[in-house]
């Protein structure tokens, strides 16, 4: 192997390395893209599942939904008064959480979108 051939081979190896790195980056990007796509589709699946569950809960048929079955069993066991209390507490908690979120967002908007204000508004 002549020196030129060695240089060429080195050059080829360099090019090949560059190509490999580029391929690695592209493959990584595509894999990440695919993963995010999977996440997105999973979210959509969850939405569909949630739709089915909402429809079942509204119609009173709980076939095929363990979550609804367990909630129904809880309602059966504790009775309506306790169930209403529990439900009310959950609603209050959710409403309170949403209120706090909106409050923080308002605080952030009011104080500007800097990292420090965000951190301070949440962890003051």
């Amino acid at each position: 192997m002549t020196a030129l051939e060695q240089l060429a081979s080195i050059g080829n190896g360099f090019v090949q390395s560059v190509v490999d790195i580029a391929t690695f980056v592209i493959d990584g990007f595509m894999a990440g893209f695919d993963g995010i796509l999977q996440l997105y589709n999973a979210l959509l699946d969850q939405q569909r599942y949630m739709d089915s569950m909402i429809a079942s809960a509204a119609s009173g048929t709980i076939d095929g939904f363990n979550v609804l079955a367990y909630i129904g069993a809880y309602r059966y066991l504790v009775g309506d008064p306790v169930f209403v209390y529990t439900y009310g507490l959950i609603l209050i908690g959710i409403t309170w959480t949403i209120y706090k979120l909106c409050y923080y967002i308002w605080q952030m908007i009011k104080g500007g979108f800097t990292g420090s204000t965000i951190i301070k508004s949440i962890f003051k």
Partner: protein
């Protein structure tokens, strides 16, 4: 100064309630609770105001009921349900029938038909009114259910203000009682007038043209037996009674262990009372009311013995009936609708008398006659207001025979009219069985043709603990199959003195066993009624309804954002990754433009959009994920709102767990009148309330600096 500042100042100057942070929080909590209550009440009121109170069908039914009730009250319109006749035509029709009867045409009508018309004529107007009421009630139940109620305001709106609120239930009871009583009387008249010997007709199976009521103790009053039911009763008695060696025997079916099959056993009873007690109750009722006499007297009669011994020959002397009909409590015109006329009808023993007691606010013109020659009707024809009269019918027994009475019937009728009642026709028929000496000479003495009842196989059934019946089966070793058990139609004499049963000869009597003993009479054993387990979910329907409505409101409010977002986004598109390109040693010189190929409006949940990897698509993907998360969050809120609609269910428990839970929940605490379920439920509610109170108090106390 604003109102809030004024309130604040008021609190500042109240020394017992200083304006500190703790009190501020208390104010806020109270205000929040008040606001929630007001919102819920507002939503409820809005829902009430928006929802229609009545459907068009219900409104039409109410209007129809109002028309019928008002018409019945005034007596102006009488229309038979299902008839196309108008009220005037109905009245005219009734008049014609009455006139025909009075003019002698009634003699051409069979007594049975006449008798049925007697009642119809007699109370045609009243029956029509009641039937209108019943039709109204049926219409009401159709729209509002049996336990529905008409509000007082609605009743006033439709002119029903004077009708009590429990009108449907009350009306139904009255109508049912009246019609049943009327039908009962019709049957009595028919039976007494039509047949010199109903027993004979009964045995002949020739009683098709009568509908004798059977008073089965179902709580519904007398019911009419169909011909099939009567045939069942007749066949049952012919197949299951006999007299052997001068003793009554009743057939029973018993399982013979040795033969491995059911056999018929003729069981001997020492006394008639024991035998009667062994007869199924349904047949006891049927027999008693079909023959118009008690079971005891029937069984003890010679006719019945002869019947059982197949020695029966018809004779009119053997069975006697009540000497006269006495209706002191004959249904009177309901005072609610016409209080002008009250009457009683009473037939006494010879001389035949029809006593009419008439009260009227005006003059009533009254006449009576009979179509049968030899019958004399005496009595005044015009009565003053408030007067009463006695109408006497006599006939010459030397010229009239029972046969004539049988053919033509004896009836007398009258018509009365007055200023307060347009028309009423009263006619009654009767005869006296004490005239048996004249009857016998004309009675039919032809032999009864005994028609053996059909032989039917009896398929025994097995009932399990839960009341389910299945066919009894046994293993057949010859065919190695399981076959249904069939009754062997043989009889056996049960002799208690012998160890075994005497094997029978071929059956002496054909067997007939109804499929079920209670079928023929629609008699239902109250002890066999299925026990309905109390549903814990329906113990407080009012609360449940309110809570359900609250849940619907909450679900609706919670679902509003989701509905808005859903309408805006119309669903997010699903995305499929584009097929990865083949690895190439060199990067693509010109990458494919990252354009989604699905179009602008992909169907929600439909075919996914193919998205190729690119930086711009990645940005779009992040944006879609953000939207999807927000969408999912909103859907989660909607789901939380719909949680309240989830019914209490026991789907995750198997039957054994359910048995334990049900047993525990239904345990009643002695002396308190409350179940374990109720106690635990309200105890839990109290504990949670207390916990919330403590937590709130603790929180407020901590803030009180």
């Amino acid at each position: 100064m604003g109102i809030f500042q004024k309130m604040k100042n008021l609190r500042i100057y109240n020394p017992e309630f200083p304006n500190n942070r703790r009190n501020t929080i208390i104010y806020r909590v109270l205000f929040l609770i008040m606001a929630v209550v007001m919102v819920i009440r507002g939503c409820t009121w809005t829902a009430h105001a928006a929802a229609p109170l009545l459907t068009p069908e219900q409104e039409a039914a109410i209007q129809e009921i109002a028309n019928n009730v008002n018409a019945a009250k005034t007596g102006q319109v009488i229309q038979f349900p299902g008839s196309k006749m108008t009220g005037t035509e109905s009245n005219s029709w009734m008049k014609n029938i009455g006139t025909s009867a009075m003019s002698g045409l009634g003699a051409l009508i069979t007594a049975g038909q006449m008798a049925s018309r007697v009642v119809m004529i007699h109370d045609a107007a009243e029956i029509a009114r009641w039937q209108v009421q019943k039709a109204s009630y049926d219409r009401y139940v159709e729209q509002f259910g049996e336990n529905g109620e008409i509000s007082q305001a609605l009743m006033q709106q439709y002119g029903l203000a004077n009708i009590p609120q429990d009108y449907p239930q009350t009306m139904y009871t009255k109508v049912t009682d009246f019609i049943n009583d009327t039908v009962w009387i019709a049957g009595q008249i028919t039976g007494f007038q039509m047949y010199q010997d109903p027993f004979e007709k009964f045995l002949r199976g020739e009683d098709e043209d009568i509908d004798l009521p059977i008073k089965v103790d179902t709580g519904a009053g007398p019911v009419l037996a169909t011909q099939n039911q009567k045939a069942d009763v007749r066949n049952w008695f012919q197949s299951n009674f006999r007299i052997q060696d001068g003793q009554y025997q009743l057939r029973e079916q018993m399982w013979h262990e040795y033969y491995g099959k059911y056999i018929n056993v003729w069981k001997t009873y020492d006394t008639i009372e024991d035998l009667i007690a062994a007869v199924p109750e349904a047949y006891r009722y049927a027999f008693q009311h079909l023959l118009g006499m008690s079971m005891e007297s029937t069984v003890a009669s010679e006719a019945f013995k002869k019947f059982l011994l197949n020695e029966y020959t018809p004779s009119t002397n053997e069975i006697t009936y009540s000497d006269y009909i006495q209706w002191n409590d004959y249904p009177s015109i309901d005072e609610t609708y016409d209080s002008n006329i009250q009457y009683q009808f009473q037939l006494t023993q010879r001389p035949y008398q029809a006593l009419w007691k008439i009260k009227s606010t005006g003059v009533i013109y009254w006449s009576a006659s009979s179509s049968l020659s030899g019958i004399q009707v005496t009595g005044s024809s015009i009565y003053e207001m408030g007067g009463s009269s006695t109408l006497t019918l006599t006939y010459n027994t030397s010229t009239q025979t029972w046969g004539n009475l049988y053919q033509g019937g004896v009836y007398a009728g009258g018509s009365l009219s007055g200023p307060n009642y347009e028309y009423i026709q009263t006619t009654h028929g009767f005869y006296d069985t004490n005239k048996a000496e004249t009857v016998e000479a004309n009675a039919t003495n032809e032999e009864l043709t005994y028609v053996p009842p059909k032989i039917e196989q009896y398929q025994p059934k097995i009932s399990d603990a839960s009341g389910n019946t299945t066919e009894a089966r046994q293993y057949d070793p010859e065919t190695e199959t399981i076959k249904p058990i069939t009754i062997d139609e043989t009889s056996i004499n049960l002799n208690p003195e012998n160890d075994g049963w005497i094997l029978p000869n071929p059956p002496e009597l054909p067997s007939y066993i109804p499929a079920t003993l209670t079928d023929p009479l629609t008699y239902t054993d109250p002890t066999a009624a299925p026990k309905e387990e109390p549903d814990p979910l329906t113990q407080d329907e009012t609360n449940k309804g309110l809570l359900t409505r609250l849940g619907e409101i909450v679900a609706g409010i919670a679902g509003l954002p989701g509905a808005i977002v859903g309408a805006l986004t119309q669903g997010l598109p699903g995305i499929d990754p584009a097929p990865l390109p083949e690895p190439s040693p060199l990067p693509e010189p010109s990458p494919v433009p990252p354009v989604p190929t699905g179009g602008g409006q992909p169907p929600p949940g439909g075919l996914p959009v193919v998205m190729t990897p690119s930086i711009s698509n990645l940005f779009m993907l992040f944006w879609l994920i953000l939207l999807a998360v927000m969408y999912l969050f909103i859907k989660a809120l909607v789901f939380v709102g719909s949680i309240f609609a989830i019914p209490a269910t026991t789907a995750i428990f198997n039957e054994y767990v359910m048995m334990g839970i049900t047993f525990t929940r239904n345990q009643t605490i002695p002396g308190m009148g409350i179940t374990i379920q109720g106690l635990l439920s309200w105890l839990g509610a109290f504990l949670i309330t207390f916990a919330i109170y403590k937590a709130l108090n603790k929180k407020v106390g901590r803030l009180d600096v």
